[in-house]
Symmetry: C2
Subunit: 372 residues, 2 copies
């Protein structure tokens, strides 16, 4: 953690040093409420994904508003969340290797922890680690419902793994993880809806098999910000896992949301940056480049809707094409909307939380760099 | 900094946890020697760029081998380097805003520190900060020699800024920063050579003007791993700033080096990763995604030259296309060559330094996240 912080509580935003990550608390809180309102009348449980924010303070706010717990992807993230006061964490991922399994089983003594599996040998290793630690571990079978990433095939292969978990002395079969990650950024509402209908059909086929085999399927969990209302309406998902709705990045904003039933979440997360050079009338250079904003899903966007484009990122610089916009003198500060929030958050050690253009709080990104 | 470390000294590489950053010390040391040998007979000074490694221990090794000091891009990087024992740091960048200028001037009391400028008002602010701190600060004029990023136009505009620096009570005009960043990844040797010849012509025109005006140009500094021998041979550059040569990433490896005079640097930096899922015969999923390897300059490459391709990265997952290669069972570990070293290094808190497949040391990436 660097010695110098970009801000102190009470400081006007104009004085906050750059580049840093600012969180607009009003917009953030409206997003939390919007998710809740969009699910009114639905019985689905909400388990937001903490991989987006990596911050126990945000997780606890989500739980205060009704979330049953949170998800994450790494044991080290789960450790940070539990240490920060979260009591119920689902690792929506496979955990492989003895050191991580030992830590996972140890954590299960301190909180409600569940994990996913898509492989028989991994299930044996999970059982051994749980036995050694003297715990019973909740394990969900991850099925591939179209994302082509991890997960066993739906149907018979999933049933086989569920049976293996159920037959393991120190494991409990806790349900199905069925996340359609590829659907989240399909631009058209119809495409996303169709992808989730297909995913739900895979789930239904699998739960029918489990039913027939007399294996209770604790729950079906999945979904992201791009599709969660479709999973909620599917009658097969019990729990949804949206993450990005709290921040809303430039990539998600390119989705069509019209009549999707998903509210328009606001951008609440920004990279605060300074114009550091004006080499030509139509070009300004800012101090936020690749190490300040991940460009894997496209360039950041300039938040002021004045025609200015962030056209190129190098390690420590961003190039703005001004397209005739006035201002942008050396020393001016501005907000960028990250192209992709999750890996951008992972570059910073704290959120500078602002309200009415003043710093209200600093929240540590305690799970920044939690890779293990 | 996460509580769990991926390794301890003495551990066999096979036991090192993933994902983590491994540094092959033999290859790294050969790269250090190769740079030195490739400059034999040249009088050019070497000032490696520390933005690539962000690690005082590496900077000190470079200095031991003859480097006059190092470069960096941020005041916070310079602070970390000086704190780590480096006595001579050039910030190859413009520093804007009162808090950073105060810290810069304070640091100049503790070490030889120089900074770049491309703007008259910034020069006034630098002078004021130096005066307040009671120091004389070395300032170079950055000229744009074709990179189209920061930097004033060569020739008269550069002379004007040099005169302003020379006339400032607490600044010393220390020379020209003339880095042709756009040339570094031009694939053909001829293109890179031509770009540096053009850059050198811009420099020559500017130093002639300075000469005529009676302003001593302390030095001309610039160059990167892709071109440094051309700057060294130009007779106008006094100092070169290669950074990536110590690690060599997949993007640089796509350059042609034939008869360039630049040695083939070896890949010494790897992301160590575990196969965590085998969802299909031709696909393996590894535990290193966007948060473990920056994809801004292309996907990481699988180090084993067995036809396996890393084809897709999501936040915490990488998809390998096996193309018929055997192996890659769940739990197997492998090395990835990062697409781009600099932003990848910035994701980690330490290098796991290995020799003969055993951990020899852990070096902290002390300037990780040093953005301010």
């Amino acid at each position: 953690m660097p010695v110098y912080l970009p801000a102190t509580v009470g400081m006007p935003l104009a004085e906050v040093d750059t580049p840093c990550l600012i969180l607009d608390l009003d917009a953030f809180e409206r997003n939390l409420q919007r998710l809740k309102q969009s699910l009114a009348g639905r019985s689905v449980m909400v388990r937001p994904h903490a991989k987006s924010h990596k911050c126990p303070q945000i997780a606890l706010r989500q739980i205060e508003l009704g979330a049953v717990g949170v998800c994450c992807q790494k044991v080290s993230e789960a450790e940070v969340l539990v240490q920060g006061g979260v009591r119920d964490v689902l690792i929506t991922n496979e955990i492989v290797g003895a050191p991580k399994l030992r830590r996972l089983a140890a954590l299960a003594r301190r909180a409600q922890v569940a994990v996913c599996a898509d492989n028989a040998e991994n299930i044996s290793a999970l059982d051994a680690a749980a036995r050694e630690s003297g715990v019973t571990l909740d394990v969900l079978v991850e099925i591939d419902v179209g994302a082509n990433r991890c997960g066993v095939e739906p149907g018979a292969p999933a049933l086989e793994l569920a049976q293996k978990i159920a037959a393991s002395g120190n494991l409990r079969f806790a349900g199905l993880q069925a996340y359609q990650g590829s659907a989240q950024h399909l631009r058209q509402v119809g495409e996303r809806r169709a992808a989730i209908e297909a995913a739900a059909a895979h789930v239904r086929r699998t739960t029918a098999l489990l039913d027939k085999a007399g294996i209770a399927c604790g729950k079906v969990t999945g979904a992201g910000t791009g599709t969660y209302v479709f999973e909620a309406a599917s009658a097969v998902y019990d729990e949804i896992q949206p993450g990005s709705y709290i921040f809303m990045d430039a990539d998600y904003a390119r989705n069509d949301w019209t009549e999707s039933g998903i509210p328009r979440f606001e951008h609440s997360l920004f990279v605060w940056t300074t114009v550091m050079s004006r080499p030509s009338p139509d070009r300004a250079i800012v101090d936020a480049g690749l190490k300040a904003s991940s460009i894997d899903s496209g360039m950041p966007r300039v938040a002021a809707q004045d025609g200015v484009e962030y056209v190129k990122a190098s390690d420590e610089h961003g190039v703005l094409q001004l397209n005739g916009a006035p201002g942008y003198a050396v020393g001016d500060k501005l907000r960028l909307i990250p192209g992709h929030c999750d890996p951008t958050v992972n570059l910073y050690d704290q959120y500078v939380c602002i309200r009415n253009d003043r710093v209200e709080a600093m929240w540590l990104i305690t799970a920044r760099g939690a890779l293990l």
